[in-house]
Symmetry: D2
Subunit: 376 residues, 4 copies
């Protein structure tokens, strides 16, 4: 392992979209970084994602997360060009908007009330009544009572984005080491000096844990208890000659994302507290039922495949982006739940800021809730 003899500026534990974005942003600032990944790059939740950039989709009130998401979404157009230039990889950014549909009067009232809120916060949003909606999106079912249109939420290819971050980082000098599991940290007094892997020790000034749902386990082994838990999400995809919808359709219990080349991704179930990556018959059958209820002609689409990803959720729903409260040389970036793709640009940028000595937003600090040391 040639990487053994290098002392890195930073080691990033985890080669998913967050870890790869951090590697990219640090490499841009001239740092020599290493991504250590226990399997292969971008093979877990980062490639399972539908790739929605739903900054406004889930808003119900203003919040630090909402502001973080909007900032991150705004980074995509420039980032897309930058990653293409460095890695040659196209992240398939599509800025076609979303409609969040109402199937009941309650849903309609709620969505209608969110429109002025979005506008007040400086974002575009508008209510589209039933008849107009069906003119714009004729494939939507007749029972739909209207929709909140969000013209600025788009989507990317999640696997392409992850690969583009990683290969752009490599183009800027980063190293990658796959099939290497980190099981502990190298610590001297209060300072983390690197990581212990099954294949030996690796040294760096800074160690950043970006292991998604698996971060908690690693940190637990090192004596830290994060307040995160894994949430499985199941998805499936179909193929059509022409997409029946122009934009992502978001409904209660299901979203339908048009991708390039006649694919549609339908997601996602939510099952908490499991690392089991298998897809249940129940999960896929409920998604099918919801999707064909919303867009009846999907029935005629061609089945492609089903899959699942394990996402890290936190107690308060906010990601962790910050330094370890007591140990020097160690930071954490995880807990992005179902916003990992959307938040990856800003997360990578913020972690680079952090290592450059900037203060980050308090709301995402690691010690904001019950983090505690398990072992002394």
């Amino acid at each position: 392992m040639r990487t053994m003899n290098i002392h890195y500026d930073a080691i990033i534990v985890g080669g998913g979209v967050i870890g790869s974005s951090i590697a990219f942003h640090l490499s841009k600032r001239g740092k020599k970084v290493l991504i250590v990944e226990k399997n292969q790059l971008a093979t877990k939740a980062s490639s399972a994602a539908a790739g929605m950039l739903g900054a406004q989709t889930e808003l119900e009130k203003d919040s630090p997360l909402y502001r973080l998401a909007r900032k991150s979404r705004a980074m995509f157009p420039k980032l897309s060009q930058e990653l293409k230039e460095l890695s040659g990889i196209d992240i398939e950014l599509v800025q076609n908007g979303m409609v969040k549909v109402a199937e009941t009067d309650e849903e309609m009232s709620l969505l209608q009330s969110l429109v002025p809120l979005q506008q007040k916060l400086g974002e575009e949003a508008e209510w589209i009544p039933s008849e107009e909606l069906r003119t714009q999106e004729p494939a939507l079912s007749e029972h739909i009572k209207g929709a909140m249109s969000i013209p600025n939420d788009g989507n990317v290819s999640a696997p392409s984005l992850s690969k583009a971050f990683a290969h752009s980082a490599v183009a800027l000098g980063a190293d990658i080491q796959e099939y290497t599991e980190v099981y502990d940290f190298i610590k001297e007094e209060n300072k983390v000096k690197g990581v212990q892997t099954l294949a030996g020790r690796l040294y760096a000034d800074e160690t950043i844990v970006a292991g998604g749902a698996w971060s908690e386990q690693l940190l637990k082994q090192a004596g830290i208890q994060l307040n995160t838990y894994p949430v499985k999400g199941e998805c499936f995809s179909v193929k059509v000659e022409i997409s029946p919808i122009m934009r992502t359709v978001f409904a209660n219990g299901c979203y339908i994302v048009p991708k390039l080349g006649g694919r549609l991704v339908i997601g996602a179930t939510e099952k908490a507290n499991t690392f089991d990556e298998s897809v249940s018959l129940k999960g896929v059958s409920r998604l099918m039922e919801r999707a064909t209820k919303i867009i009846p002609e999907l029935e005629n689409a061609q089945w492609e495949k089903a899959w699942a990803g394990i996402r890290p959720q936190t107690e308060d729903g906010y990601p962790y982006l910050g330094r370890h409260p007591e140990w020097e040389g160690m930071s954490i970036a995880t807990g992005h739940y179902r916003n990992g793709i959307l938040l990856s640009p800003i997360s990578g940028w913020q972690m680079a800021e952090l290592l450059d000595g900037k203060e980050l937003d308090d709301h995402f600090r690691v010690e904001r809730n019950s983090i505690r040391e398990l072992r002394i």
Copy 2:
């Protein structure tokens, strides 16, 4: 192509389960045979099948097909040993029986009336009332009103059976040529002398067309019109730790077949007149709905995959097993629809009998209905 220089006793067009069984039975009689397959052996309907040996399952009255099916089913135990000895391949014969369940009063009356008929025809069958059924098969839904039990219908692994036939034939001296498409016959006066392939001419005393749903096209190109049509069948499979059922469960619109190693195969839809091997969302979602209606706990099973096969159906529902009505040196074995796996042993044996000069059952003769010459 070394096979170019050999004059074969017989060339079999089609490397599915029927063609491979014919090759096996002819090789056993000392004939030098060649299987010509346009793709790879056993990759189409023969490997898509659930492998049910449902000789009695579909009976509603005595018929030549019913008798053929029973004879074929009876061949499996000895065949299973023979193929294992020659090829080493286990066809996974399971003789665990089937239950055909009634969900309505009409279905119950019908099934109850079939029991004495089966018995009169010399087969075992019995009516199991609701309570007793649920003692035997507790996973069945409460709404099921009872079932006709058929203890002697079992199942095999369809892909293993196809491969075992082919590799046993090879062990006995047969040749196989994959990726070779036959597009016409070599004919001298009234006698077929072999086939024309994209890779050249192949010669034999006898040419047997066993191309499944694709036979009609080949024969059409040679000026013959069979009365067959393709019927797509879609299936899916799930994994469980322990099978919730002991036997195959057959219901209206769906069957559930327990396979080795915790797999269950659920089939099959029927869509006529298409060669499109894709799986529709509608097809798989209806199968799921039916299957979980019959066995509610299937919901918790792990999704594996979905697939489709194209089966050849005939106008009267009987396969074609016989000589060409006018051309010498040419025979046809196709039209087995959803009984291809079950009927493969007897079909192979009968074609071997035919080439040895025996007369076959008139009901399966090629000229029994509107076959006609398209070209002179």
Copy 3:
């Protein structure tokens, strides 16, 4: 099949890169076209290709094919943008050049003599001596005596190009019908009116056969004998963290093409007169031997996979682009051998010109050599 009731301007038989380019170019001119594909779009030679745009690489003298290739290569930059806009698909155009290396004195003399010829014909080319070459491409083996550099030959993703053509055509109104085999033409007197498929008849004013290596068979069935033959090409790919080479390296018996994301494609063997798509141990082992001779450190690369494609070669090495010599309403575009990806833009454009009544280059006319009617 909804397409049954439409009378098309043109039906294109074959959904590979050539057929899809024709569909795209005809759709741009407002024609209503249908692609009929017997399997799935872009699954044969079109997706097996390494995607080199080697317009100058194989030149040994000026020729109509050389001029066609240069014209086609020049179309890629604009085409890349156009396809991205219409389909969202990035064809991964990389214009990084090629080096054609000399391993012997004979090869060196030959290549050195080609440099002025290329320049005379208006193309960039230059001889790079051994030492300078190894400065530019340090991974090349020491035994290499120099190389002809061709700065303007690049590469694309062959599967992406095929899909981008097809989906751009669809965006412009084209229809696609997969899993549909054409086995004959509909002809009235001297005029072709459409095609006969396994799933019924399809009608159009113009029928264009673009079936790659399978075109000959289809045309043979319709009574025409093209002078083409299939040539199998085997390839394999590896993964590396950083590509050891900047440009495509072309040597005697092997080329090595750097692709995005750390992949290298190594090709290609040539085996004539077979439709067998399997990969031989010999083929892959000789490619490996050649590739590691040229770039020794490839040894440490990670094995990915091997595959093969069947390409249509013609007697004089020129593709067929033109009208049927006697039948009205029928054209042919095949015989592109290992230049299918490179020639796809110009081939599509030329066929569109042809249908608009223009005359094409005589060198590619269908009747230029021994085409003949087999059947009257």
Copy 4:
């Protein structure tokens, strides 16, 4: 997780062939056991193995391992039947023997000296001179100087054996929990009470670590240092119509194992101290070179695929089969290196004996060498 509420007789950490055999043997003795597997059953080294039962193949002198291997090999015929009855799965036991070929005079002398040793130890073995060898196995290269024939070494399907053990255990009442990573033990004073997994705690009277190459890491986290290290082995497979060899051929640097249905598995490289499961170009190309040197006509075989597995080797080459030296309720079964398939029956049986209070062979005791506590 329903298994949460059960107190098991034994928990087995690792669902490979060793863990599954232990589960089977314990279940036969009426124990309620649970296999906990971090990915899916039998997906790592256990399914990567070629399945050779080479008890005599590697012998160079009598040893406890040699005697263990012979005992284990003798268990296969009866085991094969037993597993087939319980699980329906055929392990594809073939008792066709092996030839260990000599390519040099040195190899010849060595092998000739081993024949009387084998015989003295009560095993069949014989020297076959060159000419006779080539009569028996005409596909072997002319340069081979003869071979030691071992008629009683055969092979099985490694994936089928693993699955058959696991599903037979399930048929006898065992539970399986996939996608569940154990990261620590539950310990009260000196007694292990179960395991801590990412999904919660699991309790049992006995905990058996059978995690292959990953055992060391788990035990290290629990404060124990085994003397094992991972060794990657790369293999590839080809397809042929008829196997060119009747028996497994074992040469310096490569073995060639004929499997059912015209497959041959060629293995295996050895690369120590890595968990990287990728296949290197160098590895696969050297195996190819060796294999075609031994059997030249393999060149014409059809490439299938390449893969790698990570096997646990120990310092003295003996597996660990025994109790933890200090902790109660904890045992270890790992370190089988490239004999895992061969040794799985005896290993399962011995661990069952151990839990029933029997003493095992001292040579395989865990504390035989430098095991030590890392953490107190």
